[in-house]
């Protein structure tokens, strides 16, 4: 297959007018919606999406059709959220979907809402995408005018309202329960699960939250069927995936490739390798929250959920951060720990305090005031955070922190002052450090 055959989601990305309803319709757009509303039952849609093996593209990779099935049968009031918070550092694919081809995501949203019988959907766009909010709203207005939204859509009797909701700068609102709280007019703080949103979410009613890319994949699956979709990818990682690539490669950007492609091939053939004068040192493959892999390890990976899990990392959001040999890994982890400390919503002590400590200790090392015990202390702090909090933000900080030490320990050790007094360090969180 040639690269253009893989283009399910990104087909109209290089068209300057791909955002227009007329262009989308001329390309066969909204045919899937018509088919879904007139000849399929909600359960049939859920089943075909399940059979297609579509897994959530927001980070966790949970099967989309299965999640839809958790909405209790016969629920009167169901809500649907399209998660366009896209704030995981390294990730910038959903903005492409919404900017270049908003109707694809909208069509997917309407079909998804029909599948779970939701009558109100929110598209939650991060506040920093202020420029994008108006464009998505324009597409929504076009869809209303064309009768794809509102009452009795295409004469099917199905009603749906869509509200474009603008966030206001909080990474944690990307977490689904934080997102729901945010739209309820609360602080965007996550809630303990269960209950899962599919059972009790927005206004305590069944609520489905899906990433933009997951939703945008739905029209293709309805149009061409589960088997066609499964032609792309591997047995367990079906379909295509958007990768947003940053760092000093020749061609950073957003790429759609089938899941399972060898990293080596992607890196050389698509990204053009490193810019002249740089060498590959490491890659954070799935957004800033996943473990880093040194060049030698990533070079042997395939880009799918299972291969990356086997290599000790995660596919995550597909936000691929390419790190050059010239980078100081301790400096980079300081940047990341600052981020997680800044974005912790503060509800859980291990996360609120732990992210702060990780940041402080890394800073201390970089000031040249660290001891060997401080490197161990970073590990102890991580032990006190992982898996012990309401939402996975604490783990999202621990995963890069631990892996940076595991894979690049000599860079941390090089900062230790041999002459510094070996101060006794008590174990976090009980004692005082620094």
């Amino acid at each position: 297959m040639s690269p253009s055959d893989y283009k399910i989601l990104s087909k109209r990305f290089d068209r300057p007018d791909g955002h227009l309803l007329s262009v989308y319709e001329a390309d066969g757009g909204y045919k899937a919606l018509r088919m879904a509303l007139t000849s399929l039952k909600p359960k049939e849609i859920r089943d075909v999406v399940k059979d297609a093996g579509l897994r959530g593209r927001g980070g966790a990779g949970f099967p989309t059709g299965v999640k839809w099935g958790f909405v209790p049968e016969g629920s009167e009031e169901v809500y649907f959220f399209v998660n366009a918070d896209e704030s995981e550092p390294g990730t910038f694919k959903d903005r492409y979907l919404l900017d270049y081809d908003p109707h694809q995501t909208l069509e997917g949203t309407i079909i998804s809402c029909f599948a779970v019988q939701a009558k109100l959907a929110f598209i939650y766009i991060r506040g920093e995408f202020g420029w994008l909010v108006d464009r998505v709203q324009a597409a929504v207005d076009e869809a209303y005018a064309a009768g794809y939204l509102g009452k009795n859509i295409l004469g099917s009797g199905f009603d749906l309202e869509v509200i474009v909701h603008k966030g206001a700068g909080a990474y944690i609102c990307g977490e689904e329960t934080g997102l729901i709280n945010s739209v309820e007019g609360l602080k965007g703080q996550p809630k303990i699960k269960p209950p899962f949103p599919a059972v009790s979410g927005f206004l305590d009613k069944p609520t489905i939250v899906n990433n933009v890319e997951s939703v945008a994949s739905v029209p293709y699956i309805i149009n061409y069927g589960a088997e066609a979709y499964k032609k792309f990818g591997t047995e367990k990682s079906c379909g295509t995936k958007l990768w947003s690539v940053s760092g000093p490669v020749k061609k950073p950007g957003v790429y759609e490739i089938p899941l399972g492609m060898a990293f080596r091939e992607f890196f050389h053939d698509y990204l053009g390798g490193m810019v002249d004068g740089e060498e590959l040192k490491a890659v954070i493959v799935g957004g800033s929250s996943v473990p880093v892999l040194p060049a030698a390890e990533i070079m042997n990976c395939n880009l799918d959920y299972e291969s990356l899990a086997n290599a000790g990392t995660m596919l995550g959001s597909g936000g691929m951060i390419v790190i050059p040999q010239s980078s100081d890994m301790v400096e980079l982890i300081q940047v990341l720990m600052h981020f997680y400390f800044d974005e912790s919503c503060g509800q859980c002590t291990p996360c609120r305090e732990g992210t702060g400590w990780l940041h402080k200790i890394v800073k201390k090392l970089r000031r040249g005031e660290g001891t060997a015990a401080d490197i161990d202390l970073l590990g102890h702090v991580c032990d006190g955070m992982a898996g012990l909090t309401i939402c996975p933000l604490a783990d999202a900080a621990v995963m890069p922190m631990r892996s940076f030490i595991d894979k690049f320990r000599p860079e941390f050790e090089a900062l230790i002052q041999e002459t510094a007094p070996a101060e006794p360090v008590s174990r976090w969180p009980r004692g005082e450090q620094e």
Binding site: T91, L120, E184, Y255
Partner: protein, 185 residues
């Protein structure tokens, strides 16, 4: 153009703004759920939400002041104090870092004569370091209100600042006409 609508608090939201807020309250399923977009209406008009604005919202949305301040102070883009004329928010997160944000920030600091986190004495410019702006592969980048500037270089920063000093906000890289130029596969 705005006229006092709320005699009690002296809050002067334009008639258009009040209309938007009333429409939002009708559109959202509960009054509380309309809080964020209502704050945005006030933010868009004034650049911040004053105490009078909060009082206005308490009555429109039937929420306590504490509930509104809780939300107002949780989100970094909401402000309770007037802002500098131009707040430049430059991304200092990891991707931009490996794509060269540091020299760009240094250049901004030099040209503005202030450090990250400071405001110029004439309150024309503020410089803030912010987390990922969702332009990672197009970095280094900075945001000015709704405008996003990507692929920053010293020259591009000079042009931007020169233009802003003349009161002109240059075309952003996300403006529609420039879209076809983006790097896609």
């Amino acid at each position: 153009m705005s006229k006092p609508l709320d005699e009690q608090t002296g809050f002067t939201l334009s008639a258009a703004g009040v209309g938007q807020i009333d429409a939002l309250i009708r559109r959202y399923p509960t009054k509380a759920s309309a809080l964020m977009p209502c704050i945005w209406v006030i933010m868009d008009e004034f650049g911040h939400v004053s105490e009078a604005g909060v009082d206005f919202l308490t009555r429109k949305l039937e929420l306590t002041r504490a509930r509104i301040y809780e939300v107002l102070t949780f989100y970094t883009m909401f402000r309770t104090e007037p802002q500098a004329e131009y707040t430049l928010q430059v991304c200092h997160n990891i991707s931009c870092h490996v794509m060269g944000a540091r020299p760009v920030i240094a250049h901004l600091e030099k040209r503005l004569g202030i450090r990250l986190g400071e405001t110029t004495p004439d309150r024309k410019f503020a410089l803030e370091g912010v987390e990922c702006l969702g332009a990672c592969g197009l970095g280094p980048c900075l945001q000015l209100g709704k405008h996003l500037y990507e692929h920053l270089t010293s020259e591009k920063i000079d042009d931007l600042l020169d233009s802003l000093r003349k009161g002109v906000v240059p075309r952003a890289d996300t403006d529609r006409e420039s879209q076809a130029g983006g790097e896609t596969s």
